[in-house]
């Protein structure tokens, strides 16, 4: 297991507000291997972004607080590092791509200068050298280098996201965190950007955490998948394991929420209800009140972690008694 680039264990993150404590992340365990991509999937408010920001140590504090757990990057415990050391890691070893490229770029600085800034912070190079590297990065993401002197408002959304990617990759990070990188883009551009990220990941041999709520994106890019619900990983495994042998009712619900292109008469089966209130999580399984398979035990007891093979596990009471329990695909 020395190939682990990132290892998160029992991460708990709370937001302490005047109205109470928001339990955003409640004991997350994930790992990313070198050169592999982990897809972190879940609906809005599941704690995906909070997990990502924890890796960067960028949780707004206050109100955010990493209560317990550990985050190890190549064996270094990120949670014990001082701010000045973190500044050296951010952008150099770990980079992040933000959700909305429209707001992630500084409107008053040229894109070339913004890429060069990251380079100049981490590498001891002069301004002209950094500017040259910035243009190379632009070329790599498919933007002509002579546009380096233009401002963000002169670019389209897809191109802005390319610029954001160029900034993130400018120092050859080992780990790239992409927080819903394609959500703000339209479908045609989405495919291009995903393709680009995939190629660059292979080229730079990076590990990647891809945060998304789009299972299509996951199928396209990821090696491993972790399904997140109410601050916990409810199912995790390789792409094939999770996609071919869905175990958790929530994962099944996610798949049923995708329109079926082969059967147009097929109706969508959304997951009923809303995610439980993070101020006041239920005592047992957080998915209890929305689950079609709910049993009395689900209400009172936290579901155990049940393994299927080396990589695939699920947190659900259904498999406690009978390992070979089959979900019925949401059919009544």
């Amino acid at each position: 297991m020395s190939d682990k680039l990132l290892k998160i264990e029992d991460l708990v993150v709370h937001y302490i507000t005047d109205d109470g404590v928001v339990e955003a992340v409640n004991g997350v365990n994930i790992g990313v291997d070198r050169g592999k991509t982990l897809g972190l999937v879940g609906e809005t408010g599941a704690g995906k972004t909070t997990t990502a920001l924890s890796i960067m140590r960028l949780i707004p504090h206050p109100p955010g607080k990493i209560v317990s757990g550990s985050i190890e990057l190549e064996g270094t415990d990120l949670l014990s590092l001082k701010e000045s050391r973190l500044e050296k890691i951010r952008g150099d070893v770990v980079s992040m791509i933000f959700q909305d490229p429209m707001t992630a770029l500084n409107p008053v600085i040229t894109v070339g200068d913004q890429i060069a800034e990251a380079i100049m912070i981490h590498q001891k190079v002069g301004q002209s050298k950094a500017a040259q590297k910035a243009r190379e990065m632009l070329e790599i993401v498919g933007i002509p280098g002579n546009r380096a002197g233009e401002y963000p408002h002169q670019f389209s959304g897809g191109m802005k996201q390319r610029v954001v990617i160029a900034i993130a990759l400018s120092c050859n990070p080992k780990l790239l965190i992409a927080d819903e990188p394609t959500t703000a883009l339209d479908v045609t551009i989405q495919a291009q950007v995903l393709e680009l990220m995939k190629n660059l990941k292979d080229k730079f041999q990076m590990g990647m955490v891809l945060i998304t709520h789009d299972l299509g994106v996951v199928a396209e890019v990821c090696d491993d998948v972790a399904i997140m619900y109410a601050g916990r990983i409810v199912e995790q495994g390789t792409l094939e394991e999770v996609f071919n042998t869905v175990k958790h009712p929530y994962t099944e619900g996610l798949f049923n929420s995708i329109p079926n292109i082969d059967d147009r008469r097929d109706k969508l089966k959304p997951i009923r209800g809303l995610m439980s209130d993070p101020y006041n999580l239920p005592k047992g399984c957080s998915f209890y009140d929305r689950c079609d398979y709910a049993m009395p035990v689900c209400e009172t007891q936290k579901p155990p972690k049940i393994h299927f093979g080396e990589t695939h596990f699920v947190e659900c009471h259904l498999y406690q008694e009978q390992q070979d329990f089959k979900l019925n695909g949401g059919k009544e």
Binding site: M96, T110, S128, A148, E150, A168
Partner: protein
């Protein structure tokens, strides 16, 4: 080789683009006739301040008493007439421009740099530091600006330098508030978080990302404050706490001329008009800039 020329070409490109952003603001400012009138007047004043020695001789016309020619009405030799000591009022107004503009700009620079620094760190770091800084400044803000300036001049003694300090210090809380508000509106933008994510430290974030994005309200406020500082300087001089006679200063001219206002009203009218036009023009420019810099009107 070709790489190098490419670098130069791109650098040139960057420069032209940077200029074009300023040109954008200028283009919109040009559309406002009132701002252009203000700009015209203030350029005239600047011209007078810079070329004062060529327009009128300081010792001979603005300072030296000439009892034979006292209290003359405007004529071809004395365009604005002469005052109670026979000094040429036009010459004194021209030289007074230097003092008013100079002291106005310097005191605003003092207020902008100190108030701006305090406001920026208060807004950026927030929490207790913010509270500590802003509550102290609130105390200063509770004292009327002119009263605070009078107090400072009274304590330090009346001189041009102390005048600048007094007007500058009394403007610090205002600048701190404006800068803080501007910083607060920018600091939660996603690109600030993105900058932090590439490893930028607080200094880089404040100077490169936060402040350049909060310039618009600060520029407008500074322009308007130059105008009110000119008023402040004139007021202090009027009550004898500012520039001391015989140095020509608009407020001081008003003060010494007011004894003759019934029979020789031009003695106070012209310096009064000078103050009015200087303040009015800066306010017009400030309003024009506010519109020109507003991104919503793009």
């Amino acid at each position: 080789m070709s790489n190098k020329s490419e670098v130069i070409a791109t650098e040139n490109l960057i420069k032209t683009k940077k200029r074009s952003q300023g040109a954008d603001v200028w283009r919109r400012l040009k559309k406002s006739p009132t701002a252009m009138i203000g700009l015209g007047i203030i350029i005239l004043f600047l011209f007078m301040a810079v070329f004062a020695p060529m327009i009128a001789d300081y010792d001979d016309e603005a300072i030296k008493m000439n009892i034979k020619e006292r209290l003359q009405p405007p004529s071809s030799t004395h365009v604005f007439g002469t005052d109670e000591f026979g000094r040429d009022i036009f010459a004194r107004i021209v030289w007074g421009t230097r003092i008013s503009l100079f002291v106005g700009l310097i005191s605003v620079s003092i207020a902008l740099s100190i108030g701006g620094f305090l406001g920026a760190i208060a807004g950026y770091y927030g929490g207790r530091l913010d509270n500590a800084i802003m509550r102290v400044l609130d105390v200063l803000l509770a004292i009327p600006t002119i009263l605070l300036a009078i107090t400072i001049v009274a304590a330090l003694g009346a001189s041009v330098l102390n005048l600048m300090i007094a007007v500058g210090v009394s403007n610090i809380p205002g600048f701190a508030r404006v800068v803080r508000a501007a910083v607060l509106s920018v600091k939660d933008e996603e690109f600030i978080e993105a900058a932090r994510a590439i490893g930028a430290n607080d200094f880089i974030i404040i100077t490169r990302h936060v402040l350049p994005n909060s310039m618009a309200p600060i520029i407008v406020f500074a322009t308007l404050k130059v105008a009110s500082s000119i008023m402040g300087i004139s007021s202090l001089s009027f009550i004898g706490l500012g520039v001391q006679p015989p140095t020509p200063e608009w407020g001081g001219m008003l003060a010494s001329g007011r004894a003759y206002i019934r029979d020789y009203m031009y003695i106070v009218m012209f310096p009064g008009l000078a103050i009015v036009f200087a303040v009015l023009s800066l306010n017009l420019i400030g309003d024009g800039l506010r519109d020109a810099l507003d991104p919503k009107l793009k």
